[in-house]
């Protein structure tokens, strides 16, 4: 397909729209594409490649600039800051072109809020902005109002051709004042209601005058408060002017004050007073000062001497201007005429007095310390004003002898300080009050001080010299010698020395001051205060102090006490103190410490204080005894069968109480070897039966006296008895076992075997079979019985021996019998006597009498029944029974 468009012309056509297109590149590209539009060329390709680089190039060439422009604009819209600056550039012109009504409506709420915020934040900003607008507006408005008022006033005056108008015009003609002045004067209505005269110094009321019908609070308080307020204003605004507050206005009321040298006149005026009133008040004030200047100056609260003043003040109070209906002032005219006639004569006189006045003024001018600033003569009155030094001559005093009437002289002097040397010298002398050693004099317009003075005075003089004004004389104090440093140093030194001397343990032997150096020598205890340390704070230069101290041991009790405390280290229970120069130790200590203290007391030098240790109690024996006692108590407590209930040691004696088993160890016996003195031990033991099996067993052994063949043992709290014993003993053991069971203890006897040896049984039977026979009425057996006795004795001895071997005791009961003849009492007695006889015969044959018991049975146990008349020889006998125990 062939292009019908000439590529060159296309390119050229495009170029007409956009000069930036590279026409040459575009043309060659199009030509190349055209050449390639060839069927053969196309056939070689399966299709047109999707991304033909030439198409991209073509696009770049055709719309490359648009693309970059578009991306720039997009970027601009996306970035808030850039957009803001872009919109900011066009905002003013956009606002200008916007329809006014719509823009106003849209902005109104935002602007209102903005202004509101600005006023809330700082009203001043908006005020400053609006100030230039408001001021001319206000000014204009007021101007218009005033103009209006004046206009209406003029109109009124012009149109009301009344009697008033005529009268005022006449008055204007008469006085030469302008008509408006007269109108103003008549419209100024006022009344002076109170006049106070107040002492300038103290604010106290000197005098007070009131108009009729005027009331006020306590004038004394008011006058003080007025001067307080004057002071307040002066202090608050640093006002140094002499005059003070001269006008206070409160609505209808005005307070005008005139200030004089000693007193202030305050007038309370209601209404609109004319300015001339000031002049009048001032005149009155001057007159009062002239008349009573001394009394005013010395006023101390007592106004009795100033009584005449009230009449002067009265003239002020009567001043008033009322809008009364005055008649035609014929009287005034007459008065004017009356005044005019004497005027001629008066003028002559006034010329004369004027001459005298001038002489006085020139004399004043030559006075040192007086400067006349202004003077004039008016209406026969002389006015003079100027400055005067308080030390200069009194102008009032100079008047005398000048023929000038002092009442016509109105002076107004402001005090000032003259710089002439002689005045300065006077003032310096008054203010500095130099010591006698200083002399002030004037040398060639300089004031020279010479002599000696302390530095405090020199400082004050120097300050005064600096304060002298530049124009004044020089105050030369270079010739005054400062004598204070040496004097002070010496003073400090003396204070230091006396302080040292009063120190305990320091003895000042010698001290002197020489060429500004201080020398001191003496003795000091090492424990005393350090003289060097005492120097600090005394303002003495330590470098100028030369000390020489010898150490010594002070024998003052407090130092001895310190040394003793350091060397003896007393126990806490001992307190050392000083009692009337003696060192006294009190308290309790062991003997070792007391020995050391006693040695120390001996070593104290003869001149030193006594060391009294008599009040220290030796606590060592008791301590040791108490130790031993405790040892003994604990030993007792460890003993079985002993219970210690209570024990105390008091006053060197020991008390102990408790329970003990009789079988336990003897506490008394335990004392031996403990070191406790038995005489000081007071014991109180209650016996008790310990239920400890060991003790129970012991008690059993003691009470049952078991045979040797029996053994007691303790097995797990039970008492077990094993072995062999006679039946009787076993019976007793059984009873004991039953009793113990009641106490909860068990005694086992089941292991016991009964002991009945054969031999003993035989012997017993043999012995019991034998009787000893007696003849009737006889208590001694016949000789035929002796062999029986011998045999019996042998048997008894054998049995006793065997029984002992077997662990039992054999006892033999010898029972005497009688036959039934005779009296019963005799029978009982003879039966006992037969038993006693046999016992004696057996004893004689070696039988242990202890084993032989005797009883008389009388006729009660007969061997055979008998005929009481003849009697039976078988019944006259002694029988033997054997018992084993």
């Amino acid at each position: 397909m062939t292009s019908t468009v000439d590529p060159i012309s296309l390119a050229q056509k495009a170029a007409s729209n956009d000069t930036e297109i590279d026409r040459e590149a575009l043309a060659s590209l199009l030509v190349e594409i055209a050449r390639n539009v060839d069927p053969d060329y196309r056939a070689r390709f399966d299709g047109v490649p999707t991304a033909d680089p030439r198409m991209a190039t073509l696009r770049q060439l055709l719309v490359g600039r648009e693309i970059s422009e578009l991306s720039r604009v997009t970027h601009l819209l996306d970035e808030p800051e850039q957009l803001a600056s872009a919109v900011g550039g066009v905002l003013p012109s956009a606002a200008a072109r916007a329809p006014h009504a719509q823009l106003g409506e849209a902005l109104a709420p935002a602007v209102e809020r903005a202004v509101q915020r600005s006023i809330q934040k700082s009203p001043r900003t908006l005020t400053d902005i609006l100030y230039p607008v408001f001021l001319p507006a206000i000014r204009k408005s007021i101007g218009e109002k005033i103009d209006q008022t004046f206009q209406s006033l003029n109109e009124t005056l012009r149109h009301i051709f009344t009697w008033h108008g005529l009268k005022w015009r006449f008055e204007a003609w008469r006085t030469g004042a302008s008509f408006s002045e007269v109108v103003l004067k008549h419209s100024l209505v006022y009344r002076v209601e109170h006049v106070f005269l107040i002492n300038r110094n103290s604010g106290l009321l000197i005098a007070h005058v009131t108009a009729d019908n005027a009331t006020s609070e306590d004038p004394q308080l008011i006058s003080s408060m007025l001067s307080a307020i004057q002071d307040f204003v002066k202090d608050s605004f640093n006002e140094t002017e002499q005059s003070g507050l001269d006008t206070i206005r409160f609505g209808e009321l005005r307070l005008w004050s005139e200030v004089g040298p000693f007193a202030t006149l305050v007038a309370v005026i209601r209404g609109n007073p004319p300015e001339e009133l000031h002049e009048i008040f001032r005149d009155v004030l001057f007159r009062i000062h002239d008349e009573c200047s001394q009394a005013l100056e010395q006023f101390d609260g007592d106004s009795s001497q100033l009584a005449g003043i009230e009449s002067q003040l009265q003239t002020c109070v009567e001043l008033k201007q009322e809008d009364s209906n005055q008649g035609f002032p014929w009287l005034v005219v007459a008065a004017v005429l009356l005044v005019l006639i004497p005027t001629g004569g008066w003028l002559l006189l006034s010329w004369q007095s004027g001459q005298r006045w001038q002489a006085y003024v020139s004399r004043l001018s030559t006075q040192p310390g007086i400067i006349v600033a202004e003077q004039k003569v008016r209406d026969g009155q002389f006015y003079i004003a100027g400055l005067r030094d308080p030390l200069a001559a009194d102008p009032q005093a100079l008047l005398s002898g000048t023929q000038i009437d002092p009442a016509r002289v109105h002076s107004q002097w402001q005090f000032y300080q003259s710089l002439e040397p002689e005045f300065v010298l006077k003032r310096l002398t008054a203010s500095l009050t130099p010591p006698k050693s200083v002399r002030l004099s004037i040398v060639e317009d300089r004031i020279v001080a010479e002599g000696e003075a302390p530095d405090t005075w020199i400082d004050r003089a120097r300050a005064a010299a600096r304060q002298l004004s530049a124009g004044g004389p020089v105050f030369d104090i270079s010739k005054v010698r400062d004598v204070s440093p040496e004097a002070r140093a010496a003073e400090h030194w003396q204070a230091y020395v006396s302080r040292l001397s009063s120190q305990p343990g320091i003895i000042v032997a010698e001290q002197k001051v020489h060429d500004g150096q201080f020398y001191i020598a003496g003795l000091r205890d090492p424990l005393a205060a350090d003289p060097q340390a005492l120097l600090s704070g005394t303002q003495i230069d330590p470098a100028r102090v030369h000390s020489q101290w010898q150490f010594y041991q002070s024998l003052e009790p407090e130092f001895v006490l310190k040394r003793l405390t350091a060397s003896l280290t007393p126990p806490k229970s001992v307190r050392l103190s000083i009692v009337e120069d003696r060192i006294v130790a009190e308290g309790e200590a062991p003997d070792t410490w007391i020995d050391r203290a006693r040695a120390a007391a001996r070593q104290l030098s003869a001149g030193g204080p006594v060391f009294d240790i008599s009040k220290v109690r030796d606590v060592s024996p008791e301590a040791r005894a108490a130790e031993h006692w405790q040892h003994y108590v604990s030993r007792l407590e460890a003993q079985p069968g002993i219970i210690v209930a209570q024990q105390t040691a008091k006053g060197g004696h020991f008390y102990i109480s408790g329970l003990r088993d009789p079988q336990a160890a003897d506490p008394q016996a335990l004392l031996s070897g403990t070191g406790v003195d038995p005489a000081r031990v007071h014991s109180h033991w209650q016996f008790y039966q310990s239920l400890d099996p060991k003790f129970v067993a012991k008690r059993l052994v003691a009470s049952l006296t078991p045979p040797d063949s029996v053994r007691f043992s303790i097995i797990k709290d039970r008492i077990v008895v094993v072995g062999e014993a006679p039946a009787a003993w076993i019976d007793r053991a059984r009873v004991a076992a039953q009793q113990l069971a009641a106490d909860g203890l068990s005694l086992e006897i089941s292991e016991l075997r009964e002991l009945t040896p054969q031999k003993l049984t035989h012997l017993r039977e043999a012995i019991q079979a034998v009787d000893i026979f007696f003849d009737s009425g006889k208590a001694v057996p016949g000789p035929e019985q002796l062999p029986v006795l011998d045999k019996l004795a042998n048997h008894l001895k054998e049995l006793a021996k065997d029984a002992r071997k077997a662990g039992v005791t054999a006892q033999f009961m010898l029972t005497g019998h009688s036959d039934a003849t005779g009296r019963e009492t005799a029978n009982v007695s003879i039966s006992a006597a037969r038993a006693e006889t046999v016992r004696a015969l057996l004893k004689k044959r070696g039988v242990d009498p202890e084993l032989l018991l005797v009883r008389g049975a009388g006729t009660f146990e007969p061997a055979e029944t008998e005929n009481s008349r003849t009697g039976s020889s078988a019944n006259r006998r002694v029988s033997v029974t054997v018992n084993f125990h």
Partner: protein, 163 residues
């Protein structure tokens, strides 16, 4: 006869309370805070005359530096007021007196230890007061609450300044 008297003392020692009940007054206490001074009058009848004490009650200052000494000019006597429950106010009162006297010369004064009704918080020892009395000072333990010794103090001062 009238005499100007200045009441001096530290902050809240009770000067104003002392004068409030015992004097003639026409000015309100706001003067103290506005002008820094309030004026009251106390008339004391002595055997031979009547003395009007014009009392200048100066605003109490903790900071002695701001004390307006110019108010003392022309005063004939001082009333020094100390709060007996705050020992430091004694030093303040004495300093104020020193400043006043340095400026205007010695003048008679009475020293009031005020708030004597607060015995449990009392902070001034008797020995201290006795020491001051040894100096010949006129000292009163006053109470604005009960009025104890207030009149005595004014009477004493009146007789001192009237000489």
């Amino acid at each position: 006869m009238q005499k100007k008297i200045c009441m001096l003392g530290g902050f809240a020692v009770g000067k104003t309370s002392l004068v409030r009940r015992f004097v003639q007054s026409i000015f309100s206490e706001t003067y103290l805070t506005t002008v820094g001074v309030k004026i009251d009058k106390k008339s004391v009848v002595l055997p031979d005359k009547t003395v009007d004490l014009i009392l200048w009650d100066l605003a109490g200052e903790d900071d002695i530096g701001s004390f307006r000494v110019s108010y003392v000019r022309g005063a004939s006597g001082l009333v020094l007021v100390v709060d007996g429950t705050r020992a430091a106010t004694l030093a303040v009162a004495l300093t104020l007196r020193e400043r006043a006297e340095a400026e205007f010369g010695d003048m008679p004064f009475v020293l009031l230890f005020n708030k004597s009704d607060l015995a449990d918080r009392w902070a001034i020892s008797d020995s201290e007061i006795n020491e001051l009395r040894q100096l010949g000072w006129q000292i009163y333990l006053t109470s604005a609450l009960s009025g104890e010794h207030v009149d005595d103090a004014f009477r004493q001062l009146a007789s001192m300044v009237a000489k």
